[in-house]
Amino acid sequence: MLKRHGVLPGFSITMGFTLLYLSLIVLVPLSATFLKSATLGWDGFWAVITVPRVLASYKLTFGAALAGALINALFGLLVAWVLVRYDFFGKKLIDAFVDLPFALPTAVAGIALATLYSSKGWIGQLFAPLGIKIAYTPIGVIIALTFIGLPFVVRTVQPVLEDFETELEEAAASLGANRWQTFQKIILPTLLPALLTGFALAFARAVGEYGSVIFIAGNIPMVSEITPLLIITKLEQYDYAGATALAVSMLIVSFGLLLAINGLQRWSQARRA
């Protein structure tokens, strides 16, 4: 009666449980959110998200996430290169440490970064005499988002570098390319899918980030307020419709990024096959 999907037992029960769990935990709450925002109507929705304060928060959230992801793309590549290609004292320890932003709770990271970069903090006080404020400004937000995305690029580029066929480099060298040319024309293009995937992952993570940013941002409307904070502010004011509209706009971006990342990962795997 039922189409057999394989010879092993247990398909219906595991599939059924999986779908039930997903529906209860993910699909039902998400549909409630989308339906609620639909009650606003298209005009109402658009009115909420084009208010200047909201637009400023979008600019900060997405702009700082982009800056952080770009920094991570550059330095993540550097760190992955150094970890795979070179040897130095303490390399294994440092390699394990790269995952700290994954493991450290975001609130802890948030207060640590805020303290570190405040004008009396260890790093902040180096910049204070120059008149540069880091904490409580958009620069602080960029720093926090760089921290949070740090492992993504490193961990997506590392496996590709480890599997890299050095024969290609040797061939280039024997054909007369210098090291920089080899890097530019052979190594970098091969790493590009993984680099882009890591960049997209870091960007996606940074866009929604709350805990690490909330302490170091100034949270001043129009200047240093991130979109998640605005959602919470609206919730506290019982503006459920507004909070929902903002949440849906962020969800749409999240889904778009998720599709892009899946596509990038497929491209990356096709390249390596």
Partner: protein
């Protein structure tokens, strides 16, 4: 040259000659640059946590941890993790079994759904439950009529924790079980084992390190979750505050030594997570 160390299996560039290596100066420059970056972004924040935690001495450190609100926050965090992790473990195993051992259409849609919490902002993750179970939500009036409190109470916190952590075990197990294929399980079935026996005696031992890895990550995230829990909790001290929320409250009251003292517990948990992660990765690579 005598500077060439023993070649390791992965590092083939060493034994292949010098024509395609960067000059030593460039190498050391790159290493130094990478280390400075990592020092500034990883080590310093961690150092700040412990330095600030102990800034008022060990007595104040201890007092901050055994204070009643801190203890109830720790209890709530442990409760949330102890509920979310086993449930997500069962889900992860079920989902991985269905996805890895069978063929059906819609598999990649299912996997994308499982990946969803990773791309959703924590605040939005909490919001969707407030919209469903809050007073103004769909089920709000029904819950109120039956005097069930979910939002701004412990069950809501557990729910939000489950949402943000459920992919971890599944994501570890699915590629692992897909790579292992179905031959061993099929052999067991042919030899007369029941489904359960096959699972316990064939599949589970094969995936045990991946499973442990997923559980470690799931637990770390469950205990550290901040944004989602912040939205669904009521921030009621002594009742609906987890450890990260408690840290936030202490910090916002300018009680930074106590805030960092409690935060240092989470930081130690993070270090233990990293160590466990490295150990499991090492075991997974052994034949």
């Amino acid at each position: 040259m005598s500077s060439i160390a023993l070649p390791s299996p992965i590092d083939r560039t060493r034994t292949a000659g010098r024509i395609h290596r960067e000059p030593a100066l460039i190498r050391w420059l790159l290493i130094a640059l990478a280390l400075v970056f990592l020092f500034g972004f990883l080590f310093l924040p961690l150092a700040v946590v412990f330095s600030q935690a102990l800034s008022k001495g060990w007595a104040a450190y201890g007092a901050a941890l055994i204070e009643p609100n801190a203890l109830s926050a720790i209890w709530l965090t442990v409760l949330a993790a102890a509920t979310a992790v086993p449930l997500n473990l069962v889900f992860g195993i079920a989902a991985a079994w269905a996805i890895a051992k069978f063929e059906f259409s819609g598999k990649s849609l299912l996997m994308t759904l499982i990946d969803l919490p990773f791309s959703v902002s924590p605040v939005v993750s909490g919001l969707i439950y407030v919209l469903l179970f809050g007073l103004q939500g769909w089920l709000g009036p029904w819950l109120q009529a039956h005097d069930i409190k979910l939002i701004f109470a412990v069950p809501g916190i557990v729910l939000a924790t489950i949402f943000v952590t459920f992919p971890f075990v599944a994501r570890e197990l699915i590629p692992l079980m897909q790579a292992q294929g179905t031959e061993e399980e099929e052999a067991a079935i042919v030899l007369g084992a029941t489904g359960w026996q096959t699972f316990w005696r064939v599949t589970l031992p094969n995936v045990k390190w991946g499973l442990l890895y997923g559980v470690i990550l799931c637990n770390a995230r469950a205990m550290g979750e901040f944004g989602a829990v912040s939205v669904v909790s009521g921030h009621i001290r002594g009742m609906t505050n987890t450890v990260p929320l408690h840290v936030e409250i202490l910090y916002n009251e300018y009680n930074s030594a106590a805030a960092f003292a409690v935060a240092s517990v989470l930081a130690l948990l993070a270090l233990v997570t990293l160590a466990a992660k490295s150990f499991v990765e090492w075991r997974m690579q052994r034949p």
